[in-house]
């Protein structure tokens, strides 16, 4: 099933409001989906016999910077029987202050269980909270680390357990 047909199928099922844009230049082509419908869209693509995206290759979190003020999550799906790849994308507003609540994206880990660790990683390095995730803990960084290092404006903490983190700017 080609890209246009998938877009039509999704619009028929979820209405025009679901679609926030398409990016045909990307490899594989990407559909931008409204954030509250991402889990339902994924479930439809997973269960529909015509699309059958049974393999979640990759899940990436992206920070567009404090000026753009958005965070993105990109899902790369692959259908093994049809040999078709597809990207999905959601965009959420970014919390610019550390005291604000983390942006929320619905989890897809109940559909593809591989998303479990990918989402934990996105939470760890970018501070995107996946609602409904069974085990939202940090995965690569220590549990008591402060901040999310792949944010474009992230400041390193001064000391971690008595160790200077940024060794260029030290006073002793």
């Amino acid at each position: 099933m080609c890209f246009e047909n998938i877009v039509t199928l999704l619009i028929d099922k979820f209405g025009e409001g679901m679609l926030e844009g398409t990016d045909k230049d990307a490899t594989p082509p990407i559909i931008q989906v409204a954030v509250k419908q991402i889990a339902a869209v994924c479930m439809e693509l997973y269960e529909n016999k015509q699309t059958y995206f049974d393999y979640l290759s990759c899940l990436t979190g992206i920070d567009n910077g404090p000026d753009a003020g958005t965070l993105e999550v990109v899902y790369h799906l692959y259908s093994i029987p049809y040999n078709v790849a597809l990207g999905l994308k959601v965009q959420v507003p970014r919390n610019n202050k550390a005291t604000d609540a983390l942006p929320q994206v619905p989890t897809v880990s109940h559909i593809w269980r591989t998303a479990d660790w990918h989402e934990r990683e996105a939470y760890d390095v970018l501070g995107i909270h996946f609602t409904g995730h069974p085990d939202m803990r940090r995965i690569l960084l220590p549990a008591d680390w402060e901040g999310h290092p792949l944010r474009k404006d992230d400041q390193l903490q001064q000391k971690y357990h008595g160790i200077h983190v940024d060794y260029n700017t030290t006073d002793n």
Binding site: I30, C58, V74, I80, A85, R113, D116, H161, I163
Partner: protein, 405 residues
């Protein structure tokens, strides 16, 4: 002047570590919490496993990662595309050539120069990648046999891997971390006489592979330790996005070298071995090792075909310059790009977002095969013995450099 990187000793620091998911007071009376790692030989690096056991039966496994985290993605988005290649080597340090090949392929496709690469360059890339695949599988099989109690295969595999490392050292000067495949070309051409020496090595290796078959995978003790252990059903494997020999061990014939037809793989003849459950259930630890051993034979086939081409119509000439197509300026146009390739451990993917204005990627995510493959361990080791947990962990074949990135 005092050392700027100084550790201030405080007694309480000794008692701080990554908190466990399970707390002792929430366990059932018969359950016990044990900790394996991070310094443990059978974890193939620094991986900590928090294991809840009921006697000798594993109830749950919680892996704690990050001990080897070196901020690959942060590095990649703060330096130009070509300078990232040494960091790629250090991700999967047992298969650096394969990882470089995947990354370079992605950047070349983003630039639109993948058609300009001379065939000799592509053949050399495939040749070194397959040599590295052999070396990587040798380590994997050897250390796996050592995990479950056989010491000889490890030494034999390391002996054969040494030849490959010397060949690759001859090409580029490094034994493990090569920085050989460049965007648009290669560091150097093959040294004079390499093809003949490589053929000699293949002649030497073929009987050794038969020995490997007899020594490891047909060995009765090995079969008893691995058959019917850690069975990974195919539907679970796909749901967890398992790839590489682990997925093929579960019986699915999926190899991205065939599916995506990248590089010169469509011109080469090779088979895709899959697990058939010859000694037990399809998808057990034995099947995964069996697939790895069979893949060694396929890699030998590919190497032979590459050498044949490199000695006939793609012969070395005086005019040949492997750096002729290396771009002076690497600035892809604005796009999102996902590239994947078949590594010895499975699908290695790179997601790039180029903003079209700079030589530095806006975002570069590495989809690591070991990271994803390791996530299934809790699922397949529940209900087994603690000794089987070690056998399962070895059969997943993780490289912690790639898990933690």
């Amino acid at each position: 002047m005092a050392n700027p990187i100084q550790y201030q000793y405080e007694k309480e620091n000794l008692h701080r570590s990554e908190p466990n998911k399970y707390q002792p007071e929430h366990l059932k009376p018969e359950e016990m919490l044990i900790n394996i790692g991070p310094q443990h030989p059978s974890t193939h690096g620094v991986l900590r496993l928090e294991v809840v056991v009921d006697g000798e039966i594993v109830v749950d496994v919680v892996p704690h990662l990050g001990y080897l985290h070196r901020c690959f993605e942060k590095h990649a988005e703060s330096m130009p595309y070509n300078q990232t290649i040494p960091y790629i080597d250090r991700m999967d340090y047992l298969a650096a050539m394969n990882s470089e090949h995947a990354y370079v392929m992605g950047v070349e496709r983003m630039l639109g120069i993948e058609k300009d690469i001379p065939p000799r360059v592509e053949y050399i890339r495939v040749l070194v990648a397959e040599l590295n695949r052999l070396a990587s599988h040798f380590v994997s099989i050897g250390t796996y046999a050592m995990d479950i109690g056989a010491y000889t295969p490890f030494l034999w595999m390391m002996r054969d891997r040494e030849h490959i490392q010397r060949l690759l050292e001859w090409i580029c000067g490094a034994r493990m971390l090569y920085n050989y495949i460049w965007i648009g070309g290669l560091f150097y051409d093959l040294p004079v006489g390499f093809e003949e020496r490589c053929q000699e090595f293949i002649r030497y290796l073929k009987p050794k592979l038969i020995e490997l078959n007899q020594l490891v995978i047909e060995n009765k003790i090995f079969v008893e330790r691995t058959a019917n252990v850690g069975v990974l059903p195919l539907d679970l494997a796909i749901n967890y996005a398992i790839s590489g020999p682990m997925l093929r061990g579960s019986g699915l014939k999926l190899d991205f070298r065939k599916v995506d037809n990248y590089s010169v793989y469509p011109e080469l003849e090779f088979d895709i071995p899959v697990g058939e459950g010859l000694m037990g259930t399809t998808g057990d630890c034995w099947d995964r090792t069996y697939v790895r051993v069979q893949e060694c034979y396929e890699s030998v086939k590919i190497i032979e075909q590459c050498l044949e081409r490199l000695q006939s119509d793609l012969k070395r000439t005086r005019e040949f310059d492997p750096r002729a197509h290396v771009p002076k300026k690497i600035r892809p146009k604005k796009q999102d790009f996902y590239v994947r390739a078949e590594n010895p451990r499975g699908e290695l993917g790179f997601f790039f977002r180029a903003d079209g204005r700079s030589d530095i990627p806006f975002r570069c995510k590495a989809r690591s095969s070991c990271f994803v493959n390791l996530s299934v361990i809790a699922e397949i080791s529940k209900g087994g013995m603690v000794a089987d947990l070690i056998a399962i962990l070895g059969s997943i074949d993780i490289v912690l450099g790639e898990v933690d990135r």
